[in-house]
Symmetry: C2
């Protein structure tokens, strides 16, 4: 089969090494006699996997001891409800930065549980940038400050993070850029991410949080939605998504082999530069809707001179083995998701195709 | 590798055909050019899978048009909260039958949202039977009646189901016996099941419910926990656990090849009879703690003459390729889970080992 590059925004490309290893041991895992998918979540083989997944993430991201690392279900969408359910006390208020569709959804869910103070919004310009921190209207009494580190749909990303007022915990939805660049975990009280971009398959949600934060949860929250439940039981309160956690563990080992987060970040910078240079050097044929200082290294959006060219561009791309490039309808045009597992060769093939398409249609 | 039979209670054995097919197409799914695990949940290839999974379940179980078939996350444990959150109005009361650990957990969660009337309980005799329906104290005004069709830990199962008072919807947790025997879906307003016993891997939760029931949900429930959200969006409101749904679809095809639910049920009866006959014909060496009329066809529990024999029994079993037989600590002894995918040959091997062990230790 000829090479296909998968630019989907998620579920997304996984490292070829990981896919091959998982295939090789799919039916017979180690000395188990059957597949890891068929093993009990209490089996020593699976316990070794979930412990290694946690240990690898702690080492790769520098997650301190006072933080829990949890493997949950439901995606970021369930976190939009769980965060205020656990951390926004009745009558309290939380700060939210509105930088895209997923931020807006998080805000909508938080409003079911308390007051929301929208500290900034780029909605008026179709979410084309991350508002400058100096303009944010932060509440020093906020229960927490919520940010979305990368905006998958609009192709924007925080280049750095704000400093919340003293005592206000910062919570970040990092679904689409976790493990893509170095960060200081202690700058955040909590980080969460659906796995299906940089960590593994859909169906696993990673939560990294200061353990003491979980004590804020009111007593009347159902057991499965209390972070404290999963902290107390090391993510084994009930049956976790075992196969997804196994793949995630293989992905963490792959990241280690790439030189860790620093190595991955350098590759991601090079990949993004290659594509942005192709956009910026196209004499205006391709245009990136995101403002320069807010451009994402993960989801790179670009438009063509006229919308009628979208269809031929996409058809030609598929013929060239480049799939998943259609942009979200709220932005239009194209979106290339260059997650960790997208090889540089995929971006080179895309840039080459873009040059060729422009020469025919420019 | 020599044959290993996996008697774990869940995650559990999957059909060998399914495991082999999933392995063969793991890295290259059809003409996609990559694995189905890497495909977008909006890709036509995945849409075909989720639609086939639903259609196959509808055909196998005879699920009528007025019922939704949903693929959710969080397991039965999250349903314990979602059911009352959606269906138990403030100030209302729900009926629950207490037949084991999982029933008790469901009751505990429901109490967070309203009043619970426990209609029956076998707790006093360590949950060794399903209480006779004539003794149940049903509330004709109940918001719903909740039953647990099979009790994984105690090895009991409903041989038939009660008839609730007119207008009271019956809700069943069928996590450990769904798709194992024929039933009339219209006898239930809702059926839910974690996938990891008879349907596929952990991380997928099947919900079958009368669509009109979902309208009862209060407005202040977070979007992801409203059944109506997932009914309206055909389980694609957010990214579902795509790979788990793919495996589930393969399992439904395998059930079709076994002659559907009727064929599976006949096999399950034969498997259970073989093991129960071995227990009952052991001259009292092996004993089944569950009462005869409540014995499960899925999880068959038995004890040895003295607890000191448990360890040698288990060690010998592993040496004979029979794994996952240790009973739950609340019952002790052994538990053989004979889910749909356990072949008759596995039960024959177990019975043969039990005969041999008895001849050495009887």
């Amino acid at each position: 089969m000829s090479q296909v590059y998968n630019f989907n925004a998620g579920p997304a490309v996984l490292p070829a090494d990981v896919m091959q290893q998982a295939q090789a041991e799919f039916v017979h895992y180690g000395a188990l006699g059957f597949g890891i998918m068929e093993a009990s979540h209490r089996a020593p083989e699976f316990e070794a996997i979930i412990q290694a997944a946690e240990a690898n993430l702690r080492a790769l991201m520098g997650i301190p001891e006072e933080y829990a690392v949890l493997f949950l279900q439901g995606g970021a969408s369930l976190q939009f409800g769980m965060v205020p359910m656990n951390l926004l006390p009745a009558g309290g208020s939380a700060d939210y930065a509105d930088t895209g569709t997923w931020s807006s959804k998080a805000i909508k869910e938080a409003k079911l549980f308390g007051n929301v103070n929208v500290v900034c919004s780029s909605k008026a310009t179709n979410y084309d940038h991350i508002p400058a921190f100096g303009t944010w209207k932060l509440d020093p009494q906020a229960a927490y400050l919520h940010v979305t580190s990368n905006n998958t749909i609009f192709g924007t990303q925080y280049a750095s993070f704000p400093t919340p007022p003293a005592g206000v915990p910062m919570i970040a939805d990092m679904s689409s850029d976790i493990l893509s660049r170095p960060l200081n975990v202690r700058d955040f009280a909590m980080i969460y991410a659906g796995a299906q971009k940089n960590l593994g398959p859909s169906g696993v949600t990673l939560v990294i949080m200061r353990k003491e934060l979980a004590a804020r949860c009111p007593a009347n929250v159902t057991t499965m939605l209390k972070y404290s439940t999963h902290i107390d039981e090391n993510s084994l309160y009930n049956t976790p998504p075992t196969f997804g956690i196994y793949i995630l563990k293989l992905v963490t080992e792959w990241v280690q082999r790439q030189g860790g987060v620093a190595g991955i970040a350098a590759r991601n910078e090079a990949k993004a530069k290659l594509l942005y240079d192709a956009i910026d050097g196209s004499g205006g044929f391709y245009r990136g809707p995101a403002k320069l200082d807010s451009r994402s290294r993960m989801n790179l959006c670009f438009t063509l001179p006229k919308a009628e060219l979208d269809k031929p561009f996409l058809q030609g791309a598929v013929a060239a083995g480049l799939v998943g490039l259609k942009g979200h309808r709220s932005v239009g045009g194209m979106r290339a998701s260059l997650y960790n597992a997208m090889p540089l060769a995929g971006v080179e093939a895309l840039v080459s195709y873009m040059r060729q398409f422009r020469s025919c249609h420019g």
